[in-house]
């Protein structure tokens, strides 16, 4: 009896022992993530990975019109006032530009996160056995557009940056030196030229919002313009016009309205949805006046950036001094003025400093009270920019009259008188930049980068920024380069010692 008991006991423990001797016991699969071997097997995996690439656009540091459009483009050009005076923002608009600036670092790092995901899609989808070629090519083309969009951001802000087009892993050499500016531009052009031929002119149904061939052409247009390849700008613009998909909307405000998203003027915008699931953005919170009644703002309202008086004063007025530019009335509210969509909301005559230092608030994005994240899309490239880019290229090729006609399309919509066709080439260029300034406030174009592209930045701020003397521009040698480049972030150099700093900056 006892022997049998002992025998059974041993049998029991011998079984337990076997549990441990098997490697199966130690080979687990994650419950919440996919591992490499289980991924990129079919089209739906590829689609999911592509969605992950699109998702990188939604960060505030990426293409959400916050870090780029507000902190960098419009606060540096000085047409918008940064209300908070937090150190990282001051470093930008005071032009001290240390390499430790967190906004520049985050923009740099967010761009490479997008590029990294795009590289994985480009490389892995090609290798996939399943799926039809057309779908796979379209997936790759969309990833290439987004890769080009991020490289455009990097090359225009930092100059030649490390050019990475292949997926990296833990064993890759990550001490990657900077490529030349030309090499980065070449990669952007290659990606876009490939993508534009693969992607459709329009998407339908639930695919609306994806990259189109028009978007590729528009970004290519911007790339050519920055490089001053004006003939290419003209050609690619005309190729886009021939598609007859995109046009100027007659009503300026309707371009931005949440219920009119992905309209004919939008070549590319980052897509958002309102709600608590974090698929929205902070554009309403960042624009709506801080301290205004919650019935209009929805709750959190920070008015981080407000239009400056000198920008408002730059609008064309009638004899009585009233602004005639419809764009002002469609996108700005000043003291005593009604909100465009919520007429019950009137800016006080004496706007509290907490609402707006200048008394003005921009309402392109603040269209209704928003409790959490807002669903308004962030316009990245719109048709008006292509029209003005086309005009600039025409003018540079001495087709000034044609250029003025293009500018007048923009002015017509704004309710402004046509410019005379007799303007000189220089006057026309000035007029184009003036239109950009009035057209694109708090969008990723029209501010610092545009001015910088043509070497107009220092002249512009000298003429326009009231605090110009206190900026001590002459003591900032990094502002004397053409174009002005931002410092390579110190955090990037901390980890990648192969990086060299841009002139006049230190790590």
């Amino acid at each position: 009896m006892i022997m049998k008991y002992i025998h059974n006991t041993f049998l029991f423990f011998a079984t337990l022992l076997c549990l441990a001797c098997s490697d199966d016991f130690l080979s687990l699969s994650p419950k919440d993530t996919l591992i490499e071997d289980e991924f990129f097997l079919n089209i739906s995996d590829a689609e999911a990975a592509l969605t992950g690439v699109y998702a990188t656009l939604q960060k505030e540091e990426a293409f959400s019109n916050v870090r780029d459009a507000a902190d960098i483009e419009w606060a540096i050009s000085g047409d918008m006032y940064e209300m908070d005076g937090s150190a990282n923002r001051i470093e930008l608009h005071s032009l001290t530009l240390p390499s430790t600036n967190t906004i520049l670092r985050d923009v740099y790092s967010a761009a490479y996160q997008g590029i990294s995901r795009a590289n994985v899609v480009v490389a892995k989808v090609v290798e996939m056995e399943e799926g039809d070629e057309e779908t796979k090519n379209q997936i790759i083309a969309q990833a290439k557009f987004i890769r080009a969009l991020f490289y455009y951001r990097l090359v225009t802000y930092f100059g030649g940056v490390p050019l990475i087009t292949e997926p990296l892993d833990a064993n890759s050499d990550l001490q990657i030196p900077r490529a030349t500016t030309e090499a980065v531009w070449q990669q952007i052009e290659n990606d876009l030229n490939e993508a534009k031929d693969v992607l459709p002119a329009t998407w339908t149904g639930n695919d609306v919002g994806r990259v189109t061939s028009g978007a590729c052409k528009a970004l290519l247009n911007k790339a050519y313009l920055w490089q001053e390849k004006f003939d290419d700008v003209i050609a690619i613009s005309e190729s886009l016009f021939e598609e007859e998909v995109y046009t100027l909307l007659p009503d300026y405000r309707s371009i931005f309205m949440e219920e009119n998203e992905n309209n004919a003027e939008i070549l590319f915008s980052t897509q958002f949805r309102e709600g608590v699931d974090a698929e929205g953005n902070n554009l309403v919170k960042r624009t709506a006046p801080r301290g205004a009644p919650a019935e209009f703002t929805g709750g959190a309202a920070w008015s981080n950036f407000v239009p400056q008086q000198h920008w408002v004063d730059a609008h064309e007025t009638d004899g009585s001094g009233r602004i005639i530019d419809k764009r002002y009335w469609a996108a700005i509210i000043g003291p005593g003025e009604h909100h465009q969509d919520m007429s019950a909301f009137v800016m006080p005559d004496n706007v509290p400093a907490g609402w707006s230092h200048s008394g003005y608030i921009m309402t392109k994005y603040w269209q209704k009270p928003t409790l959490n994240n807002s669903g308004v899309n962030a316009p990245v490239i719109r048709f008006a920019e292509i029209v003005l880019n086309y005009a600039e290229a025409l003018n540079e090729r001495d087709r000034t009259e044609e250029a003025i006609n293009q500018v007048n399309k923009i002015r017509d919509r704004a309710g402004l008188a046509d410019l005379p066709l007799t303007l000189s080439k220089t006057e026309t260029l000035d007029a184009i930049f003036k239109e950009r300034r009035m057209e694109f406030i708090w969008e990723p174009t029209g501010g610092f980068s545009d001015l910088n592209r043509r070497g107009r930045f220092l002249d512009f701020i000298e003429a326009e920024r009231p605090n110009f003397p206190s900026l001590n521009v002459n003591q900032k040698p990094w502002l004397q380069t053409q174009p002005i480049l931002f410092p390579i972030p110190r955090d990037a150099w901390d980890r990648n010692k192969a990086l060299e700093q841009n002139p006049h900056y230190t790590f």
Partner: protein, 1025 residues
């Protein structure tokens, strides 16, 4: 403290006699020798009156002598014990109890998978006994052993009730997981801290164990002691043994204490008049309009002291009840405990309920069973800190002394921060609760197959259920708005099981003593959680998910698993108790590693020599006992996220999803979380240890000295990867090598009769050096939120996680002094940074080592005195040679609000600011914009000496004279005591408390506004029935 005083109440040389018969015949006599805690003593020599050796006890303490006559005197002797003589009066089985000598070096010590006598040990193990724990009525055992054990550095990470601490054994050898392995009664359990949902106050994961239940704590420090725990032992192992029932001892003990806590120190902040004066000065210096409300500073007077509003004197209560009893067949110990501790910060508290039942059953001579079942239920309320912002403690430092307790900010944002909140109202409105249930226990059976050969099998289970509730009402307090009420409910559930089978063999023949053990274990952890966040409540008094707006509910959840399989073996051999040898090996397989590197082997060897056992040694001389020992071994660390060997893709996370189409459809996306590293393997820590144990001055003095070198190779680390790689998380790699070396000393002196004393000092030195970082660049520690300062820097040749930045040489007294090429944005009153490399460019090369968070010396002093019925314990503890990155100054010095517009209150130290009239060299000029980066740059301004000496415990007790209870059978013992913890602290540190623990070695010694440590006053009573 293993050199314990003789326990009060134990009679020396007590002999248990059973049925006396006066026959005088020569017979065989059997018996067993145990110590006063019931542990068997092996190797006890039994000799006749004439000195003739009759035999020795075996591993079980059992002896058998022949040729004994009734009336013979047998003497029992063993090193470290009072020799014992008994007269043979019968031939029944004898039970002989031997008591320890003063300064005993031969207590029984719990080791991995067994026990050992200290005289036989060759590894480095420190023990803390229950009698030592009793002297410090601490809420958790980690705080009770703080400062008692050389080589173990414990710092509280928060002063929150029940708060977590960091425990580091012999330095930090890795940038990754660095907490020791905790083993409760042989069962390795997770000791990670418990988070309160919605709060940043963590609860000590080991507070699941009531200190009152603990019999002993053993800290395995070197490889010889710890390598039997293989893959998880690299950071040391802490064995916790709970009290078990003993044969023939029945007792009921009640321990209750009550007390209160308050802040031991409160640095000064500006009062209302000072604040408004300085704020006006700041605006004037910046050529900005001043606030008309603050035109007349003197009219504000003192104003509100926000520290006084949010901190309080907080009561605490504790009751523990324990029952033990047993006979030859069954022995039980049962305990229940309740503790209620309020926090010194308002609206924080912690309640703990614990229970434990330990049972041992002797079924037959050869078959034993045992087991334990314990639970702990912890409830708590915590507050949240967000990087200088919106934490109650942070806000109390920042909020306006000009405003009253219930005032909110709604003034002009040119002067007031729009991102703050009234700390008092905020604390009242936030409700973050914890409900943590832990149920754990094990059961074992042990069968003696033949004499000395035993098979033991045990099963352990550990169940965790953690429910967190965070509530914030819909509220508008001036600028602060929460537009919707938010309720977040999170439920974590985990199960951890362990199966263990061991075969052990013990044999003593002649003077040879051999013990062997081989075994196998398997362990599996699973964890799952779900979380629901709901908003918009119809009626905010009913706070359940069901009453929230249905469209505003969001759920998330996931899970994880971990498995470990192991084989282990150890051999101990000693000859004549003089020459000691030990070797062990463990082979571990972990699911955290890929197919080619799943398994790792962790060997150790060690040897010792009891010199005092040699015939040439004169034990009656100056030195009474002396042992030298040495060990070498390897330990592992697998504390790295699972699946590091494979690239992982997240699916459906916010960062992966996108919106498309006119209906704004959510499209589920995927993104690579972390690239895989197929070469990922164990981190190995290789350790040498040399030690000496000695007693002297008639055994009243004792000393243990050790020197160790611990090298961590193939350090598991997520090296910072180039931003250009675009990885969401850095891949795990084996990179780097870190050396910790140090000297540890424990020396003490104890003795006395009516007046008893035991004074001991322990100290340990630590040198930490990064020997290599593989191919990687230096590692910048995490960025301190809201700043661009890295909390630390790690590079070859310097200690891990040191502080690096500019050196402040003073303050520019005039504009003329400034070299504009060096500091282009500086003006008079700004910091002058040092041009370290002399190239006249302020760059990274001018950043130097400013300090290290690691104490080069930690020390403690323990004084136990008793006279008649009074007893006194003093415990001093200190560290020196370490620095603190006082990053809290980032928010408490500039007055200008760091994260936006307006100004906030500041430390009273700012009164020493630079002004054109008075100059000054410590605090820069007050300015709205800090273009020079006085505060934005990590510099020597932030680094302070972190040394301190603290009277951690003062206890005065009185035990009522025994005679009082002679007439009652009920009461056996009654002791009352009063105790003060953190009575005084000597430090130069200017913050709230120099004791700053952090679980991340790359962010250690960083004070960003840590919930300060309290001083505690207690009164307690202990009654034995």
């Amino acid at each position: 403290m293993f050199f314990a005083l003789v326990k009060i109440g134990y009679a020396a040389g007590e002999i248990e006699k059973r049925r006396w018969t006066p026959e005088s015949i020569q017979q065989r006599l059997k018996g067993r020798v145990v110590d006063d805690s019931g542990q068997a003593i092996s190797g006890v020599t039994i000799s006749a009156k004439d000195g003739r050796s009759l035999g020795v006890t075996n591993q079980e303490g059992i002896f058998e002598v022949v040729g004994v006559n009734m009336g013979d005197t047998l003497s029992f002797s063993y090193i470290g014990y009072v020799p014992n003589e008994i007269i043979v009066s019968n031939f029944e089985t004898l039970q002989v109890v031997m008591t320890t000598q003063q300064g005993n070096i031969d207590e029984v010590v719990v080791v991995g998978y067994g026990t050992q006598r200290r005289s036989e040990m060759t590894g480095s193990i420190s023990s803390v006994k229950s009698s030592d724990l009793e002297k410090v009525a601490a809420p958790s055992f980690t705080s009770a052993i703080q400062g008692k054990v050389p080589g173990v550095t414990i710092s509280q990470t928060t002063g929150a009730p029940g708060g977590a601490s960091s425990v580091r054994i012999r330095g930090v050898g890795t940038t990754g997981g660095n907490q020791p392995l905790y083993v409760i009664d042989g069962f390795p359990v997770g000791g990670s801290n418990i988070a309160i949902n919605g709060s940043t106050d963590n609860i000590d994961g080991m507070s699941i164990v009531n200190p009152n239940d603990i019999e002993s704590i053993e800290i395995l420090k070197d490889a010889a002691a710890a390598s039997i725990y293989g893959a998880r032992a690299a950071n040391g192992v802490i064995l916790i043994t709970t009290k078990r029932g003993k044969e023939g001892v029945t007792s009921a003990d009640l321990h209750a204490y009550t007390g209160f806590q308050n802040l031991w120190r409160q640095p000064k902040f500006l009062d209302a008049e000072q604040f408004t004066t300085l704020a006006n000065e700041l605006y004037q210096n910046s050529n900005m309009a001043t606030n008309p409300e603050w035109e007349n500073p003197s009219s504000f007077g003192q104003g509100t002291n926000w520290m006084d509003e949010v901190f309080r004197t907080a009561p605490m209560y504790n009751v523990d009840l324990s029952l033990t009893g047993g006979n030859q067949i069954i022995r039980n110990a049962l305990s229940l405990g309740y503790r209620d501790q309020q926090g010194t910060l308002m609206e924080t508290w912690n309640k703990r309920y614990t229970g434990r039942a330990n049972v041992d059953l002797t079924a037959t001579d050869r078959l034993n069973f045992g087991g334990s079942l314990a639970f702990s239920y912890i409830q708590g309320k915590g507050q949240r800190n967000e990087d200088f912002r919106l934490g109650i403690f942070n806000l109390a430092q920042q909020f306006y002394p000009t405003l009253g307790r219930e005032d909110v900010v709604s003034g002009s944002s040119a002067f007031y921060s729009t991102q703050g909140d009234n700390p008092y109202l905020r604390a009242k409105s936030m409700e973050n609760y914890l409900n943590n249930l832990r149920l754990y226990g094990n059961a074992f059976g042990e069968f003696e197959i033949m004499e000395g050969l035993k098979f033991k099998s045990s099963i352990g289970l550990d169940f965790i259920s953690n429910r967190g509730t965070a509530w914030q009402p819909k509220v508008q307090r001036g600028f602060y708005t929460n537009p919707q009420a938010v309720l977040s409910e999170r439920q974590d559930q985990g199960l951890n099981w362990l199966i263990e089978n061991t075969l052990s063999y013990n044999k003593t023949f002649d003077r040879h003593n051999l013990s062997l053990i081989v075994g196998q274990t398997a362990q599996k952890n699973t964890n799952d959680w779900i979380s629901i966040t709901a908003r918009e409540f119809q009626n905010e008094t009913i706070r359940v998910i069901n009453t929230s707006s249905e469209s505003e509910r969001r759920g998330t959840g996931t899970g994880s698993m971990y498995t470990l399989a192991s084989y282990l073996g150890r051999a101990n051999y000693s000859f004549d108790n003089k020459y000691l040898f030990s070797a062990s090996i463990r082979r571990d397989g972990s699911s955290n590693f890929g197919p080619s590197y799943k398994w790792g082997n962790f060997p150790s060897v060690s040897a010792g020599w009891n010199i005092s056992e040699e015939s040439f040694f004169n034990a009656d001389g100056a030195i009474n006992s002396l042992k030298v020992r040495a060990s070498w071994g390897q330990l592992g660390n697998d504390a790295i996220g699972a699946f590091g060997y494979s690239s992982t893709f997240g699916l459906g996370r916010v960062a992966d999803n996108y919106i498309l189409g006119p209906d704004q459809r959510l499209i589920t996306g995927a993104g690579m979380i972390r690239p895989g590293n197929s070469d990922l393997k164990w981190e190995t820590s290789e350790q040498w240890n040399f030690g000496i144990d000695a007693t002297f001055m008639n055994g009243e003095g004792y000393l243990t000295a050790e020197y160790y070198v611990k090298d961590t190779r193939d350090m598991l680390v997520s090296l910072p990867v180039s931003l250009e790689a675009g990885f969401e998380s850095a891949p795990s790699v084996n990179g780097g090598r870190i050396r910790n070396s140090g000297f540890e000393l424990l020396v003490g002196y104890g003795g006395g009769n009516e007046f008893q004393y035991d004074v001991s000092v322990n100290l340990s030195t630590l040198k930490n050096e990064v020997l290599s970082l593989g191919a990687g660049n230096p590692i910048s520690g995490p960025v301190v939120g809201f700043t661009s300062m890295n909390s630390s820097y790690t590079e070859v040749g310097l200690p891990i996680g040191y502080f690096r930045g500019y050196v402040v040489e003073g303050i520019y007294q005039s504009d003329e002094e400034i070299d504009k090429t060096f500091q282009p944005n500086a003006s008079a009153g700004d910091f002058k940074f040092k041009d370290v490399n002399g190239d006249n460019v302020l760059s990274d090369e001018d950043r130097v080592m400013l300090g290290s968070p690691w104490p080069t010396l930690t020390y403690g002093m323990n004084i136990d005195l008793s006279y008649k019925n009074f007893d006194l314990n003093l415990m001093l503890q200190g560290v020196s040679g370490n620095d603190i990155f006082h990053v809290n100054k980032f928010s408490t010095y500039p007055i200008k609000y760091f994260g936006g517009s307006g100004v906030i209150n500041a430390s009273a130290d700012v009164l020493d600011r630079w002004t054109p009239e008075n100059g000054g060299n410590t605090v820069p000029i007050l300015k709205y914009t800090d273009l020079n980066g006085n505060y934005a740059n990590l510099s020597s301004f932030y680094i302070e000496d972190g040394s301190y000496l603290r009277l951690r415990n003062f206890t005065l007790g009185y035990t009522l004279p025994q005679g009082l209870f002679e007439n009652t059978n009920m009461l056996k013992r009654l002791r009352v005591y009063t105790s003060i913890q953190n009575l005084f602290t000597f430090t130069k540190y200017s913050g709230f408390d120099p004791e700053i623990g952090d679980t991340n070695p790359l962010a250690s010694g960083v004070d960003n506004g840590v919930y300060p440590m309290p001083r505690t006053y207690m009164f307690g009573v202990k009654v034995g029935f």
